[in-house]
Symmetry: C2
Subunit: 90 residues, 2 copies
Amino acid sequence: MPVVVVDVMPKPEILDPQGKAVQGALPRLGFAGVSDVRQGKRFELTVEEVTDEVLAQVAKMAETLLSNPVIENFTVRVETTSEIVAGANA
Amino acid sequence: MPVVVVDVMPKPEILDPQGKAVQGALPRLGFAGVSDVRQGKRFELTVEEVTDEVLAQVAKMAETLLSNPVIENFTVRVETTSEIVAGANA
């Protein structure tokens, strides 16, 4: 069954302590070259079929339940795997 | 500057109480038609440039810092906005 993905990220002007913690840990682990890290949430919703109506419903869910619109932005998209360049699915 | 996205999701065989909580809340809010919800994390890493070396570095970060490989899978990809069908960026 198709999967609709909702990504919820802190707005750019909102402080993101989790992201900053990750960013601070990277050099200590020997990783360089990352100038910023933002951490958010990813929801995978399994639906019967992908129609405009379903996507509108999911956008409504994202707005009312999955995100806090005061401090977070969200995006809704249909899952694709084409652009994945690396991963672990062991 | 380019953004590399790391998505970290609980493995399919791992219980996901956060996702189940969202799934349970949806009918109570009047939303139907979602048969499963999984909740994970999304990291946006700002890098100088996207090269194979940088992507390999990010995959290493994902494996060692951003995910717990025992219970989570991750994917690394370069940010694209083409497939977004809805969102709020207010």
